[in-house]
Amino acid sequence: MRYLPLTDDDRRQMLAAIGVATVDELFRDVPAAARLPAPVDLPRHAGECAVERTLGAMARKNLSPSEVPCFLGAGIYRHHVPAAVDHLIQRGEFLTAYTPYQPEVSQGTLQYLFEFQTQVAMITGMEVANASMYDGATVCAEAVMMAARVSRRNRVVVSGGLHPHYLDVVRTYARFLGLDCVDLPPDWAGDEDLAPSIDGATACVAVQNPDFYGRVHDYSALAQRCQEAGALLVVTVTEPVSLGLLKPPGEMGADIVAAEGQGLGGAPSFGGPTVGLMAARNKFVRQLPGRLVGETVDVDGRRGYVLTLSTREQHIRREKATSNICTNSGLCALAFTIHLTLLGEHGFRQLAQLNHATAVSLADRLAKVPGIEVLNETYFNEFTLRLPKPGAGVVEALAERGILGGVPVSRFHPEREEVRNLMLVAASELTTEDDAAAFADALEEVL
């Protein structure tokens, strides 16, 4: 078997060195009744060729978004990832390294994470960022828990403009931790008022920008209201590319930013793995979950980087840690930081501008389709359409015509009549004029 270097002769020599006759003797601490006498009932080993055939067959049963016009977003965004990104993250020194616990031989990982932290802080407009979390939804939950620790309060208010998966994760974490979660109904109409829900018991308010339905917000007044009430403002971002064009959460007065980073460097990969971005005000740094890389010097006085403030973490603080997180999303953070480094200031802004302009062109084109209404007055690269019939059936009919048309809001809220005809539509630099025309034509056919 190709991944196992020991030969039978090696095994014999090693058993002799150990002083046992068979490998079975090494398993003698296992209760006899629990020792399997033979392999389990699964296929036997297979060569590369056979595995490729099996998995390739599964892949071909799917409709590949690379091959058809695709307008799906709602938290996962398709972008063009430069070839250098995937090449570099597959270098064995990055791909097959462990968490950088031995800094003398991990400066590569540590330096890119330090650069990553800096980039995340810069684009969110925050003072400090950690070295990544699992994904946007779990960061949002961690941000809410962190706000509860900082404020020493236990009521969290969640906007109806938050991604429904994020809300579900926040709700789940809050329930088990004993936090009171006040979640407002889905804000598809964009007329939510959070202020009345904020009082002296509120730990934080969690909002999203652009919100789930695509609208762009200025949360400065809300930040002010939170500050007066002693609550923290958590701003969630699901599309990092939007930060190239929009006023960042830090400039609106956010206390914690919880973001999904997949849109830079990451493949959609059916929703995971991705990378959670977490940034905050400096004064909360000791309440941050996850790893932090800091600058220092070695004994020869040369600059280097180490994991720092580790006493927040589970391996030292155990049940008193700020979070249970250990493994995070190192390699996805690497892809993110390489993509952003390739873009640079100019490229990042231009990419965001291109996304926005493409979305505007698409929205204007779709608005001409009879029966369709674009709900948003503002958006970045995703907006909500009201269709004359249920969105779920429309996307199925579009898929039959080879178009991945959008995300029906009913997929998240099957029980809510009022969102049945709504569909989220995203555009990006990958969207061509032909794609937009094909989409508009197909919509006319199926409506």
Binding site: P5, M14, L26, A34, Q111, M122, G272
Partner: protein, 493 residues
């Protein structure tokens, strides 16, 4: 040795931060000019510079290539980190995860267009259930610690469903830090259980702590001393007798995969680290994936979403209202770490039932070979064979002036990654070595020779050699105290 004018050392070239290179205008990506449109940003455009540096593509590639050369990696050398299972990460896995129709799939495509992806999740779930002898599996947790939290939430939901609000979780002192941290995040109080002098759970102490307020025992098996819990069947019976559930931390599954099924040990709940046992890369700290297998009493409470198979093919159950069970909620966005699933399944299919059994045998054989060959020079903490990892303590360094840390740093100069140090906490100055099955006898022999030479050196009174180490790495020992006292967590002009 004289310093070079540049400060570089041949292949080790110093590399500044990206922020110390580049400029505003340069970009490594060519994009078309955006079409002219009336913007719909509502006056909320960003003003002023972000501060990002811009570099051309060759500069970017060189930057990250140079950084990569400062890392130790499993591709490059032996990485015997105990409890981390640093085995070889097959490149076929990477190729499969990037297939068109897998890597590029959007999670919200109509389910009719992702039947192959759902089949893949279902197939992986089947392999995991058969290998563990458990009836159900929750696939969505993002990593091991996330799996622990998910498992404990399942347990709490099951208790609460019966109106049984239990508050305590028992965790052995030797447990990984994530165990108590996960229990706390699930709203439980943590109650430590002592180890006996054989490195196993003290059964009498455990039984004394069990009671009507204990929700679960969280036990790692094989445990963090690299030992199989010999009393495990009695432990399971005692836990169940007290109305509690038996959670197993499956971080060390590599020792028993294909040879012992946790389901036969009375376990109710166990997470697996696909990035350990099933060869997906650690990536410098993730991403991972931590599916949790569940016993029949816990299965109905597994979180959303999950895949079912019916007359119309595969389907994701994403909502409580669509479920015929009692899912406790959702722990992650979308459907789990699909890209990691593809890699793990590629590995499992490559190894097969027969190969995975051989994995456990070779992993245990390699660890016992280290234990046997090093026992004369180092001090093993416990008697008898180990499972997949060998535990030593620092008694052999007594009065040498050399600490476990010094010893480990000297191994770096020898060209090896250090073993896990100072963990588990139950032995003094722990050195935990896990070779995994993907190392050859030749590699083990070279490592053994270095460890023996270093032990001899320590005993010969060469403490200063160890205090200086490492001297050949890209950086020498770093000042962690200064880093923590005045944290510098980002670059600033």
């Amino acid at each position: 040795m004289a310093e070079t004018a540049s400060g570089n050392k041949a292949l080790f070239v110093e590399e500044p931060l990206i922020f110390e290179q580049g400029d505003d205008a340069t970009s490594g990506v060519d994009l078309p000019a955006p079409p002219t449109v009336k913007n719909r940003l509502g006056g909320l455009e960003r003003e002023g510079r972000i501060g990002l540096p811009g570099l051309a593509e060759p500069e970017v590639v060189r930057h990250y290539l140079r950084l990569s050369q400062r890392n130790y990696s499993i591709d490059g050398g032996f990485y015997p980190l105990g409890s981390c299972t640093m085995k070889y990460n097959p490149r076929l896995n990477e190729k499969m995860a990037r297939l068109k129709g897998l890597g590029d799939l959007h999670p919200l495509q109509p389910m009719s267009t992702v039947q192959g992806a759902l089949e893949l999740i279902d197939t992986l779930a089947h392999w995991l259930k058969v290998l563990t002898g458990m009836p159900a599996v929750a696939m969505t947790p993002a990593a091991g610690a996330h799996g622990e939290l998910t498992g404990l939430m399942t347990i709490r939901a099951a208790h609460e469903d019966r109106g049984d609000a239990r508050k305590r979780v028992l965790v052995p002192e030797s447990a990984h830090g994530t165990n108590p941290a996960s229990a706390a995040a699930c709203g439980y109080e943590v109650d430590p259980v002592p180890a006996n002098d054989r490195g196993r759970v003290d059964l009498a102490a455990l039984k004394a702590k069990l009671g009507p307020d204990v929700a679960a025992l969280m036990l790692t098996n094989p445990n963090t001393c690299g030992l199989f819990e010999t009393d495990i069947l009695e432990i399971a019976a005692a836990v169940h007798g007290a109305g509690a559930y038996f959670y197993c931390d499956g971080a060390n599954l590599n020792a028993i995969v294909g040879r012992v099924r946790p389901g036969d040990l009375g376990i109710d709940c166990m997470h697996m680290n696909l990035h350990k046992t099933f060869s997906t890369p650690h990536g410098g700290g993730g991403p991972g994936s931590g599916p949790v297998v569940l016993s029949a009493p816990l299965a109905p409470f597994a979180p959303l979403p999950y895949v079912v198979h019916g007359a119309e093919g595969f389907r994701l159950v994403e909502h409580y209202t669509e479920s015929d069970a009692k899912p406790f909620g959702r722990v992650k966005g979308f459907h789990g770490q699909f890209g990691v699933f593809v890699r793990a399944l590629a590995y499992m299919m490559s190894m097969g039932a027969d190969g995975l059994r051989q994995v456990a045998e070779d992993a245990v054989l390699n660890a016992n070979y280290l234990l046997a060959r090093l026992s004369g020079d180092l001090t093993p903490s416990f008697e008898g064979p180990c499972m997949h990892e060998a535990l030593f303590d620092d008694r052999f360094l007594k009065d040498t002036g050399v600490s476990t840390l010094d010893f480990a740093k000297a191994l770096i100069d020898e060209g090896f990654h250090p073993m896990t140090m100072y963990f588990p906490l139950v032995v003094h100055g722990a050195m935990l070595m896990e070779p995994t099955e993907t190392e050859s006898k030749g590699t083990l022999d070279a490592y053994i020779a270095s460890v023996k030479a270093l032990a001899a050196r320590a005993k010969a009174g060469e403490a200063d050699y160890f205090h200086q180490a490492p001297v050949h790495s890209p950086r020498r020992r770093l000042d962690e105290t200064a880093a923590a006292r005045k944290p510098v967590l980002r670059w600033a002009k």
